[in-house]
């Protein structure tokens, strides 16, 4: 009699020197179910999946398929067992066509020649069947992220995988695309394929999964039936303490104009058009203005232009001064900037935490005299910020930024930027890749700054964050602002239509 479970990971323990990444974890995947795997950053989800994929060998425990013990020594073994995975960062060859990417590694050949015709037929049939719209002859570099994800899914289907792992699949999608993906996952499950769904987003788990397993700090917390639980209970299980899911804030009390942007354009480094094309808006003190949009619609370039990281044309006024041509350090006198890419811009990874804390301020008389850095003052300041913002690290102020977890790196940047105490705070995806506990903290800090009278410009790709945090929403599509809404004026679904370019406010107003 076949086992109830298609894949079982029993009592898996994986130890790295000095840390137990997986401590006696059991994960049982039923045939035809959607099983969500929930946990904070560093909870051991990735390690567990790496064990399932044969990238790591566990110190203890065993893996069974259909009740029989199997050895997975490398990813090829995993593929042979029918395990497929859509990685968070897609594993596609940019300069290959969609068709070539799908068959790569599983080509049918005749006398050493690839037989693409048959493959094309099969793929077309698959994409027809599941509604996976792709252009087989387009190069991967030319297609949207959503379509790239469909290519990844087709890869798994083409290989007849019966166990499908989705690692944070919704991070890059629009609300409409997310709905489509959810439906597709349900269709796969209905056909008997089994799905492991790794995510941070509780509403998605509630919407699509049958069961949820929760990990925390390398330990297995438990598995619950989705219909017997709720989002609050799941987040408490994940974090280990009650978490406030809703951002609590009072209505905004906007004051005077802090930032005024007029007709700002920024050239694109990828194509010949402008990445940001004649954008105008303003941010007042005491309000959170959020720029919503799908990744790659000019938000990054807009912030580069605003902060001086890139050249721009147009006029930017900050606290009454024209800063359109000002240097980055001049702009920094009245602007904090939590950058989008914490590794590229936010931190010098090979510097210590304390050095990173004074990255902009080392020249202040407080931290130097006669060109010599006052190490004691820097240390004292860093220790103050570390305890105030609860930045955790191995060796405190002297920890290398590289050795810190992503969440704590982000906390360090936020501590530094908020403590600089500037009238304008530019925060670009401040919670990207963070877990519920850290998100809660960052959200409440931003709201507190707003209530202190700061002007906050937030760029976010997370619709949920946009809806809950902002007082005013600007939607960017292809380098232009296509919609402006006050909080509560617009539903997430409608916002999604603006983000996808299906609707535009200028046109609506013209009616």
């Amino acid at each position: 009699m076949p086992s109830e479970y298609i894949i079982e990971m029993l009592h898996i323990t994986k130890v790295f020197p000095g840390i137990i990444a997986n401590d006696d974890i059991t994960l049982q995947l039923r045939r035809g179910e959607i099983h969500a795997l929930l946990g904070e950053n560093g909870a051991g989800k990735s390690t567990l999946m790496s064990v399932l994929f044969g990238l790591y060998q566990p110190e203890a425990g065993e893996i069974r398929k259909n009740g029989e013990k199997v050895e997975i020594n490398d990813p090829n073994d995993a593929t042979a067992l029918g395990i497929g995975m859509v990685h968070q960062h897609f594993k596609l060859v940019d300069v290959f066509t969609v068709l070539d990417n799908i068959i790569l590694g599983a080509e049918t050949t005749k006398l050493g020649f690839v037989q693409k015709k048959e493959a094309r037929k099969r793929i077309e049939a698959l994409s027809e069947k599941y509604g996976l719209r792709v252009d087989l002859d387009a190069k991967v570099e030319d297609i949207t992220v959503g379509m790239q994800q469909r290519v990844e899914i087709l890869k798994m289907l083409y290989r007849n995988n019966e166990i499908l792992i989705f690692d944070e699949p919704t991070a890059v999608l629009t609300p409409q695309e997310i709905d489509e993906l959810m439906q597709m996952m349900k269709d796969f499950a209905a056909e008997g394929k089994s799905i492991l769904f790794i995510t941070h987003k509780l509403n998605e788990i509630m919407a699509v999964s049958d069961r949820v397993s929760v990990l925390r700090k390398g330990k297995y917390i438990g598995t619950v039936n989705t219909r017997d639980t709720n989002a609050q209970e799941l987040s408490n299980m994940m974090v280990g303490r009650p978490v406030q899911l809703q951002v609590s804030k009072t209505p905004a009390q906007p004051g005077e104009e802090v930032l005024k942007v007029e007709d700002l354009s920024v050239a694109s480094h990828i194509h010949k058009r402008n990445a940001v094309n004649g954008v105008s808006f303003s941010v007042r003190s005491g309000e959170i203005v959020c720029i919503a949009g799908i990744d790659g619609n000019g938000q990054t370039e807009l912030i580069y232009g605003l902060t001086g990281l890139d050249k721009s044309s147009g006029r930017v006024t900050l606290c009454g001064h024209d800063i359109s041509r000002a240097s980055i350090s001049k702009r920094g006198e009245e602007m904090s900037h939590i950058p989008e890419d914490r590794h590229k811009h936010g931190l010098v990874l090979d510097f210590s935490l304390e050095q990173n804390m004074v990255l902009q301020r080392f020249n202040e008389p407080r931290f130097q005299s006669g060109g010599f850095i006052k190490n004691d003052a820097v240390r004292e300041y860093a220790e103050g910020l570390i305890s105030k913002f609860d930045v955790r690290s191995g060796q405190g102020p002297v920890t290398r930024a590289r050795a810190m977890s992503g969440g704590n790196q982000q906390k360090a940047i936020i501590a530094r930027e908020l403590d600089r105490d500037k009238p304008l705070i530019v925060a670009v995806q401040p919670t990207r890749g963070l877990d519920v506990g850290a998100i809660e903290f960052i959200h409440s800090e931003l709201v507190a700054e707003r209530d202190r009278g700061k002007a906050i410009l937030l760029v976010s790709l997370e619709l949920e964050e946009v809806m809950s945090l902002s007082d005013r929403i600007l939607v960017m599509y292809e380098g232009e602002i296509v919609g402006e809404f006050l909080q509560g004026q617009v539903s997430a679904e409608e916002l999604g239509l603006y983000m996808a370019g299906a609707k535009k406010q200028g046109e609506a107003a013209a009616e």
């Binding site: 050095q355 990255l359 010599f372 191995g394 002297v398």
Partner: protein
């Protein structure tokens, strides 16, 4: 506070240990080569091979042969003095490469900067008649002029990198050869060619011809009969200054921030372009000082027709910096060590049937091994990294950055060695 101190200690301890291990491996490998060469050469007996090994290891302390023909060892003031004399330029070119490396730049242009420094110093030292100006002042002007010339020469690749984002390695290699040809041409049309000693061709006057020489600070009393002068002391002072600038000042903080992450530095409002140029200029000044001090000693002659070759001191600087793991204080020791190998090599030629080229082989082996010192350090640090890695759970690719760096430097210095050979 205590844990902080012990961490620092363990980190620098690891660095020191790894450098020492690689030196040891290098010396052992050298000994093996000596032995093999000795056995395959009919003119060298077994005991000759053993003698060779002894000299490679303790050549500085060699005092020649006793009346009975056995090797004798002890304090040899000539060897010791020459050791320090030859160490000065190596320490400084090593410092040059180390400073650039700390700011994320690979200064393979030290030979060119060394030549620029040499050229400027010789012109100043020999062109201002000592009858009109105090020789001490001329000497100072010549040294400063040499440093300035090195700085200017170093800032060329710096500017190309900062303004046009041109790879500094390529620009450095080109400026090296431009320097070699330019210097040859400048001396060729100059009146500084040594014509007083008719037997010599191709050399420039010694600076003592104009009464200019580096002060000896009494070191010649301790190391009687050697070429030593105050150069090594000036080199050490420059090392300490560079250490203070890099580690203690806001200027060094900016330079290192640019080197470690140019984009983050820019984000923080640091002028990344200016700092890249300044880093290269500073590195160039150190290499320039190396050339200046070597030829201002008064007992060295410059072979001016240098257009076909680059000074080995410049390239050895890469190995010196590598062995010192880019520590400005560490280069004092690694520079002296490299100089010691040179002296041992000369003793080997004087006292045994081995030829001088075998020393080059041994130096090459140690250069290779010095690249391993970074790998050994990574291995020693491996345990810690794994823990951090498991904690961070992110960017597994980025954490490995130090290693390719080491490999890059290893292969470059290997290439350099081949070129020298």
């Amino acid at each position: 506070m205590k844990s902080r101190e012990s961490f620092r200690n363990s980190d620098s301890f690891r660095t020191l240990i790894s450098s020492l291990i690689s030196i040891l491996i290098g010396l052992l490998a050298g000994a093996v080569i000596i032995f093999i060469v000795g056995l395959t050469n009919s003119s060298i007996s077994f005991s000759g091979a053993v003698e060779g090994i002894k000299i490679v290891l303790f050549g500085v302390f060699s005092t020649g042969r006793s009346a009975g023909g056995a090797l004798s060892f002890g304090f040899n003031p000539v060897n010791m003095g020459n050791l320090f004399f030859r160490a000065a330029p190596l320490v400084l070119t090593g410092l040059s490469v180390a400073v650039a490396n700390k700011t994320g730049l690979f200064n393979i242009g030290a030979p060119g900067q060394y030549l620029a420094g040499t050229c400027a110093s010789l012109f100043i030292a020999l062109s201002i008649p000592s009858s009109r100006m105090a020789p001490g002042l001329i000497w100072l002007l010549a040294l400063l002029g040499g440093m300035l010339a090195g700085a200017l020469w170093g800032s060329i690749p710096g500017m190309l990198k900062a303004m046009l984002n041109m790879n500094e390695v390529i620009a450095c290699i080109m400026t090296n050869w431009i320097a070699a040809n330019l210097v040859t041409w400048l001396f060729d049309i100059s009146k500084l060619k040594n014509t007083a000693e008719g037997t010599k061709t191709g050399y420039i006057y010694k600076t003592t011809y104009n009464g200019v020489a580096t002060p000896k600070f009494g070191l010649d009393k301790i190391f009687a009969g050697s070429q030593i002068n105050g150069g090594i002391i000036i080199a050490m002072i420059l090392c300490v200054i560079m250490y203070v600038v890099m580690e203690k000042t806001t200027f060094g903080f900016q330079l290192k921030a640019c080197g470690a992450n140019r984009y983050a530095a820019k984000y923080a409002g640091i002028k990344d372009r200016r700092n890249i140029i300044l880093s290269m200029a500073m590195a160039g000044a150190m290499a320039g000082a190396a050339g200046s001090l070597y030829y201002l000693s008064g007992n060295t002659e410059f072979f001016w027709s240098t257009y076909q070759s680059l000074p080995a001191e410049g390239f050895t600087g890469i190995a010196v910096a590598l062995l010192a793991v880019n520590n400005p204080i560490g280069v004092i020791f690694s520079g002296i060590f490299m100089s010691m190998l040179n002296i041992s090599g000369m003793q080997l030629t004087y006292l045994t049937a081995y030829n001088e080229y075998i020393t080059d082989v041994i130096i090459a082996v140690i250069v290779y091994m010095s690249a391993f010192s970074l790998i050994i350090r990574t291995m020693l640090a491996g345990r810690k990294k794994n823990i951090a890695g498991a904690n961070a759970n992110a960017e597994p690719g980025k954490r490995e950055q130090t290693l390719p760096d080491a490999r890059e430097m290893a292969s470059s210095s290997a290439a350099v060695k081949e070129k020298e050979a």
